[in-house]
Assembly symmetry: D2
Homo-oligomer: 343 residues x 4
């Protein structure tokens, strides 16, 4: 079975990762690679890591029409720009996995508060499917399009949802301290992102309220059945990939939390709950589509939960392929490594 | 004026940094370099960065007697081993800056809880001087020996003390998430510290209660006049130097906090409080003896305070020299750079 | 088709990479994971990146017998130790890919000169197959065991062979300056390999004659039909993976060299010759089984040729799987990515 | 004694390093900090590592007049732009250390070949002083302005000159393979210099003839009395600082070379020749103004010489201060560390 695929916005880091993953997938077949400012250039001029059979192709313009035989579109475009491309693809009867934030909110106001722009298709938001794969399989299977979750929300919601569902958290003291590899900031030309500025350095950013907090709070409520307020501080680190979220949690019955998490994910190929008291490392998930979760109790009211993902895989392109597998009825793990690339 | 100095435990990272700093100091003169397993070897065989005039010296044995003309001893020894060396040096009428944890506690029980060993000289603990320079100048000036603070406690106490003194914090919700460069783990031969295991990775460790938490709580009470409970999670990062502590704080009158911090450190050469809402980076203090502090209000009850130090300078050897300057009546900044080495 | 596979020496970096690759391969099935000092422990305790279905297995002892249904053994053991394990596996009618140096030489004296130990089975050396896949397919297809090439030799021989075959090089002025990521030094516990010693540093090593030079010279002669003398200086770099060899070459008709290289590898999925004057980067091959080659002419007698591989893939475990694919008649690229993981 | 100093082009990496060094110097006093596009901003907004007493100053415009009491100007400007500023400062009777390439050539044609621009003051070139401190002290002492050497030429000329003077090299087979930390590429906004593009990667560049080769060849001839042809390949590495040059040399009497180098630099505080057969590491010179040189004989005709510097110190700002010390009659080492910052 061979399904033709287009990737829009293929020259950023999530785009590059989509090409690698999808081209190694046995059933998806990349036939269209779109770009913006780089359109017209050879793929390998912009992404030298792409081998010749795709590297020699020419990048299509952003508004180039998609061939009829393309069944699936991955949109790895900036928020704001993505919505129109998604709409156009849907109108042409493609299915879409959208890696942007444009359809991650059901509520237009929330989207606008977070991104400070008006949404061009607010009516579509109510129909969106938020593709946190482990909690949204049934919807993804039916969906015409899926909003792929943000990296921080993925790393936060996976450990949080089972605890929210069990109603063991004090909803007003959820403090999350996240650390991201630099690829999370994208391939944009800023002095702050130069090698010598990032290397051997560390900083917090995104305060007072990072855009992803709205996304976390909205989906925590939907999946976890709890209205919560999250205090969130993200940091940027001198490493390419990897994201670690430290959840400083308060609540009740902490002695049950490890079991709640373990049971929730017992059969998940891409979520691993470590033995109680063992803490995860991002190295163990780098290059893998896995999320590792560790928990350390402090006392009966307090615990630290730590989650690790590869921000470009489970945090972006990997989960996107996981969702595509679900959508097309393939084995969910197809083309995705559960093992890390070590070291 | 020329003061002869011995460095004990000179082959670790804090030892190497002491050599660099003290040899560049106009009044201190290194005449003794002690080591343990490396004794008998040439300094530059173990520390190739040390230039020939000191690099060609031979490392003395740990128990080698100190010459009479040595007036000051820096002890950069492991906890447990340090106490005896400090005692011996004091008995020989030297003054001592001890970089270990052996005299950082006034309370023997606390020391034993944190380090799980018995203290050989518990009576000395009550006389110890805790050398958090900005808050202990008067005592350091008179002291025969100074316990140099730990790196995490330095990064945490500097931002906390002014807020504790003003009684604006909820004492039972002090959550601190710290991140340290790998040199903080010392020069010890462990698989976990190999380049390929640390590089491109990130992990939390030291739970449920890192040894430095006892130290923070004890001195927060003494300097800040508040009994507090700290929830503390440290992380280790792929960079050589640098430490960032993110303090997730709750309390009252947050709108006054920036002013409280600014006023407390207005005249300090080595503490810089950034404009409100601006967050520090470890790069800006790497190679410097400075601590940078930033604060971002979230609302009237909540704020994030971030502090940055170079763990080997303000967090260890730099503060040690600062204390030696105070002890001997030199200008406090002598031989210490307030500027970072960038990049 | 399902072939059961054993990996011996599975806890080092090449072992970890073999597990990742082979477990993602559609036809190979790992049923035995051997170790030395770590035998008896859970796989994921030593390799936390391995997901649960294999991570939960127990590491077998080095001398544990291999089950009858195992058809293929990958030996990722230190030189010296490997020979015996290879012999035992062959005697039990398994096929073997040996990643050590024990069977890379046809000449016992050369082996002993390079490794300074006596070979336990010198008679076997004459029968060995040196698995530089692009130049040894016919032999590998028939072989009962294959000696997988070293990383430096792979990066050097691939660009060198076509030029040697065309007889355009001055054989006595082949100067090669190679740079390797730190994983090339293995997972061994040495102070020199600690994170803080490698990070932000760079050094040359392995002089006057690195072990791999004998291997290069021996196979240059066999594949290239030229007796050559190589001046070789390797360096170790602060990055996990990646190897770049800079060949400073002298000879004749340099204007033909790009064509010689391009033609030699025109149909190779894992060797890419860049347009003339374009230089490769290791990033473009990281996570890929590719070797990228660039050439820049200086004048009619001199040229610089640069080759890049991922030392753990085309330089070790990737080429091992490529050889296994050839051996068992699978598509040579099966389970191997030609695309890099970027960034 | 207090000498007022201006730094022009103070916001790049060499500028930042000049500020740190000069402000820690006991006799030089920074009173003017110039910039181009950043003029008008606060120093610490562009260089957050600069402490408040200088960080709070405003960056002056590039063409702002220099106060009368300024005696010395450090020009850390791009080539092309520097010449005019140097001329203006000289006309105002300042002394100048120029870190650009604008006065590094005595021959206008060579300058134009290397930089592809016309020199505005070709007549000045004949009077220039090339400040390779160890070989130019007498001239620097008298000079009104000094052209500070490039980083690659410094790392290459220091090991090369004594061998050229002794006439032991085959002049037509000098092959040099250099590796530079990324700060060598400056603080310019290019995709290639983004953290994620540099980190975990390695590439060669600057072929066929890097600009610095002309400089090396010109001064090798003047200091070494030999016309030589250099084959030079530079590489860029994932580390902030550090430069290592591997000289693959051929000649005669290699057994004398170690002695030639050792004697040449026996009394130099900033050049260390390691014991024969020992190879240097850039870590041992990071943060130091030293150049370390190692030599390994291969046979009587061939040897490998390796040199290491910190490209921003001995390769730029450190040597600039060394030259300023010489110029003003201070101890040459004043304000410069011979020890590395380790790690």
């Amino acid at each position: 079975m061979n399904i033709n695929v287009a990737i829009l916005g293929s020259t950023g880091y999530t785009g590059a990762e989509l090409i690698r993953l999808i081209d190694n997938h046995p059933h998806f077949n990349i036939t269209h690679l779109g770009a913006h400012s780089q359109a017209g250039k050879k793929v390998s001029d912009i992404l030298p890591g792409i081998a010749s059979h795709l590297g020699d192709k020419t990048l299509a313009k952003a508004d180039a029409p998609l061939a009829d035989d393309i069944a699936l579109v991955f949109a790895a475009l900036p928020h704001g720009a993505a919505a129109q491309s998604v709409k156009t693809a849907l109108d042409a009867n493609k299915r879409v996995i959208d890696l942007s934030a444009d359809f991650r909110h059901q509520n237009t106001n929330t989207y606008q508060a977070a991104y400070d722009i008006e949404h061009p298709y607010p009516d579509m938001l109510t129909d969106t499917t938020y593709g946190l794969s482990e909690w949204a399989r049934h919807k993804v299977r039916q969906a015409r399009w899926v909003a792929n979750p943000g990296c921080y929300p993925t790393s936060v919601l996976l450990p949080l949802i089972p605890l929210l569902q069990a109603d063991v958290l004090s909803n007003h003291s959820i403090i999350i301290d996240s650390k991201s590899g630099t690829s999370g900031a994208g391939r944009s030309l800023k002095t702050d992102l130069l090698y010598c500025e990032i290397n051997e350095g560390l900083t917090a950013y995104g305060l007072p309220k990072h855009r992803h907090v709205w996304e976390m709070e909205e989906w925590a409520k939907i999946f976890g059945k709890q209205s919560i307020h999250i205090r969130f501080v993200p940091h940027i680190l001198p490493m390419n990939r990897g994201m670690l979220s430290t959840l400083h949690l308060t609540g009740k019955n902490t002695e049950t939390w490890h079991k709640l998490l373990s049971q929730a994910y017992a059969n998940e190929p891409f979520v691993r709950v470590l033995p109680a008291g063992q803490l995860p490392t991002t190295k163990a998930v780098a290059g893998s589509n896995r999320c590792d979760i560790g928990i350390q109790l402090l006392n009966e009211h307090e615990a630290v939960v730590v989650s690790c993902i590869d921000n470009l895989l489970k945090g972006a392109s990997g989960q996107a392929l996981q969702n595509a597998n679900i959508m097309f009825g393939f084995e969910e793990t197809l083309g995705l490594s559960a093992h890390a690339q070590w070291p």
